[in-house]
């Protein structure tokens, strides 16, 4: 089996990075979290806008997502900063993350002496965690520990012709190595339910896939009416896409050709390896959070128009569908799948992606990570706030 140089975790997973995370349980404490992060360069603050004021289902969803962001294998240790009166209680969040076996500490602004003291105590804790994390050494880890998030955004007509099929080769390679790939963006599967259903490893998984996509299509119909199944955006149509199924077929190329082994909820950690479908939205930034909470340790992001978006704890490899975008955004795109239009084969680009994914897993930073293009994260909300 091929290996990468990573960081094994007590829960059996392995990271490709060794971050110390400063995690606010609620947006109200983003300030103290920021102060700790500025005092201890090298730790990663995970600013978000949630943690309170949400109805039951979103509250449960967000508790799961925040917990699983903390348990992500790229995270070595977590300092949870709570407020005290928030919906998602910091102490419970810290306990839930600690079940993964990694070091977790917790401070509460309302009961641990207020912001200044929490920042002082938190700075000392964060510094100690960072010292410990810095001492950890990479060891060979089986490729079965690699969990690849599949993302596309700012797609164009070539995304489904060059970049996504090349990523599909990467997905097939990783599945054959025993690893995991996470396909999501269910809105971009509309029209392909019958195709993806056939790819279920069992009839039951196939049924779950179909149900997931049908549900999304029904939701879209509520907004767009009966034409939801045939409607695509003006930009897509100008680019040569004629139907939503054509667009979706181009999107799901990222998933290669193997069987679907499991369907999981947004930010839920799969128990199976291979190709897993995660229930997530089309909006890139929400989607990426779900992918990371579901345990991705590397992400590959295809784009037609180009985007600088990275993610705080997971390296994101950018793949452009065309050379024009590759040249227009030289500091953002790692791989140019547009060279397929200049004579390279799909396999050439697939091989480039397979090689780069392994070096990124070993520690090399792709462009978005090298420039720390992350910052605030966004988490899916299905309902309004109170």
């Amino acid at each position: 089996m091929n290996t990468f140089m990573g960081y094994p975790r007590p829960d059996g997973r392995a990271g490709v990075r060794n971050h110390v995370l400063i995690l606010p349980s609620v947006a109200c404490v983003n300030g103290p979290v920021d102060a700790i992060a500025r005092a201890v360069p090298g730790v990663v603050p995970l600013y978000h806008g949630l943690g309170c004021g949400r109805s039951g289902s979103d509250s449960h969803l967000h508790a799961r997502v925040l917990t699983n962001l903390g348990t992500n294998p790229n995270v070595a240790a977590v300092l949870v900063i709570g407020l005290g009166c928030e919906g998602i209680q910091g102490d419970r969040l810290a306990k839930a993350i600690a079940q993964s076996g990694k070091p977790v500490e917790f401070l509460n602004v309302q009961t641990d002496g207020g912001s200044r003291q929490v920042v002082e105590k938190g700075t000392a804790i964060a510094r100690k965690m960072l010292d410990d994390a810095t001492r950890a050494e990479r060891v060979p880890c089986g490729m079965d520990k690699l969990v690849l998030g599949l993302q596309c955004g700012g797609s164009d007509a070539l995304s489904g012709v060059t970049a996504n099929p090349a990523v599909g080769l990467l997905t097939d390679w990783l599945a054959a190595e025993g690893g995991t790939a996470l396909l999501t963006e269910v809105t971009e599967m509309i029209g392909t339910a019958h195709i993806l259903e056939r790819r279920g490893a069992t009839p039951e998984i196939g049924r779950q896939v179909k149900e997931l996509i049908d549900k999304q299509e029904a939701k879209t119909k509520e907004i767009l009416g009966e034409r939801a199944g045939v409607v695509i955006s003006p930009g897509n149509m100008d680019g040569g896409m004629s139907t939503i199924r054509e667009k979706s077929l181009g999107c799901i190329c990222k998933a290669g050709s193997g069987p679907i082994t499991q369907v999981v909820g947004y930010g839920e950690v799969p128990t199976e390896t291979g190709l897993v479908i995660m229930d997530g939205p089309g909006y890139d930034i929400d989607s990426m959070t779900g992918i990371v909470a579901s345990g991705a340790n590397v992400m590959v992001f295809t784009t037609g128009r180009g985007t600088p978006a990275g993610y705080p704890i997971v390296p994101v490899i950018k793949v452009s569908s065309n050379t024009k975008t590759f040249l227009a955004m030289p500091d953002d795109i790692d791989v140019n799948a547009g060279r397929i239009l200049e004579g390279a084969t799909l396999q050439d680009v697939g091989d480039e992606l397979i090689a780069l994914t392994q070096t990124v897993a070993d520690g090399q930073a792709p462009k978005a990570e090298a420039q720390q293009f992350d910052g605030a994260i966004s988490i899916l909300c299905t309902q309004t706030s109170f």
Binding site: I195, V230, V231, S233, G240, R245
Partner: protein
């Protein structure tokens, strides 16, 4: 390296992607067969490489992407105008706007 003029994604596909676009009358050799473009085909749009009768599937990625809304001839530009039920989101938005404002109602 030579720049290919088209991509035939899957052997089953009855339409190919004109990577740089094609002028009406331009001849494209697809899998050994010379096919003449019967329309101007914009960049990255599709050209039929077989006759597709009305109601028959238009195939790309080896799968049906829609049904021919009219008889499509080999060499035709294949897009919203000849695929049944294909709708541009802009039209939906325009129609809804027209319904909501009572102005410029779409016929």
């Amino acid at each position: 390296m030579a720049t290919p003029k088209y991509i035939h994604i899957n052997d089953k596909d009855n339409a190919v992607i004109a990577l740089a676009g094609l002028k009406k009358g331009e001849v494209l050799e697809v899998d050994g067969e010379a096919i003449t473009a019967r329309d101007d085909i914009p960049q990255s749009h599709k050209m039929a490489i077989a006759d597709i009768p009305e109601g028959a599937p238009v195939i790309k990625y080896g799968e049906e992407i829609g049904k021919a809304g009219t008889d499509i001839k080999k060499g035709d530009w294949v897009h919203a105008h000849n695929i049944a039920g294909s709708t541009n989101l802009q039209k939906v938005v325009d129609d809804r706007f027209a319904q909501n404002t009572g102005k410029g109602a779409a016929k």
